[in-house]
Symmetry: C2
Subunit: 204 residues, 2 copies
């Protein structure tokens, strides 16, 4: 009856991820998740509107972090640098606890409805970063292009990072790739791709 | 009873777009669409699995066009140029009949499920272009980054083009912006954004 359960939200989220990964998102009920966390189904629905929301409840704080990082980039930073700094901030947060991110990726990838919802969240992140860039005085087109491009780079890089995590054996002394470092490298690679293009097409 | 109806598919698609735009996607039934096209509901379901499919049935030919354009770019073209050429080919096709594209955009934008489905289609386009780039010998990371970036540029630019279409009054002698031209300009702008960044960060 409304009894406070210590860290119920976190316990439910962890139990949900584990069950979704083990037996599939569709096959898992809210009652099972609650039971696995030692809580009631009623407590589950006090914390989450539905099974899907467990997978997206962290997105508000990610969006906040992105916007604050774009706003807090040095005044001289260009739009790509500000977006890159924001993505690395999120990357660093995810890097701290990679296992839930890996499980979540596997669950979302396996379900079309969840994949589509995930893309919509990323589009929201891009729109929020574009707004934060405009607040820095970046013209609208450059702001949208930089934010959407950054989000595209994030998607590509995150998938590569997850694949790197999944490699079972690392050579002695070799560290698994870190997400902020991969994001920096991807941004640099894309910069090279554009620079080569500009060098090779003198009149465009 | 299986009677062949001349251009039933095109008539149904046009009737559906008009009705979705006028009265909303959710409020429109397959029977209404068929009736508006002078056809039966049964004919509708011979051509489309559901109401939503009418909005996405052209995506296979767009995907084909993108892949062929990437594959057919001059051998010396870099990945961004090949992707840019492919997007401009699609842009030119859409530019020929802008009205259905404008209606479709309005319908998709107004419905979250359709927006999410649209993003998933764009992700398929990006994956297909990345594959075509790899077939040209472009390394995997550069291929994915160029294809995803191109798709991001397309999204931003298409929205701007639609807004330009919606402007009711053009100054005398002024043409409404054309989609291929806007796509070229956006790619050039993003190139500038990256170049400025590279110039302003000597050691990265």
């Amino acid at each position: 009856m409304g009894r406070w359960e210590p860290n119920a939200r976190g316990r439910l989220a962890q139990a949900a991820l584990t069950l979704y990964a083990e037996q599939g998102f569709e096959q898992t009920t809210a009652a099972e998740i609650a039971g696995s966390a030692g809580l009631t189904e009623r407590t589950f629905f006090r914390h989450f509107a539905d099974k899907r929301e467990v997978l997206f409840y962290g997105s508000d704080s990610v969006l906040d972090l992105l916007v604050r990082a774009v706003a807090g980039a040095p005044p001289a930073a260009g739009p790509i640098d500000a977006v890159s700094a924001a993505l690395q901030a999120v990357g660093a947060m995810i890097q701290e606890t990679p296992e839930p991110a890996r499980l979540r990726y596997a669950v979302v990838s396996a379900n079309q409805e969840l994949r589509e919802r995930e893309l919509a969240k990323l589009a929201e992140f891009a729109a929020a970063m574009a707004g934060a860039l405009r607040d820095r005085g970046v013209p609208e087109l450059a702001a949208s292009l930089a934010a959407e491009t950054g989000t595209a780079v994030y998607r590509v890089t995150f998938a590569r990072w997850i694949e790197g995590q999944a490699q079972p054996v690392l050579t002695h002394g070799q560290e698994p790739p870190d997400l902020p470092g991969l994001l920096r490298a991807s941004m640099a690679e894309l910069g090279d791709v554009f620079t080569d293009r500009l060098l090779s097409s003198p009149a465009s």
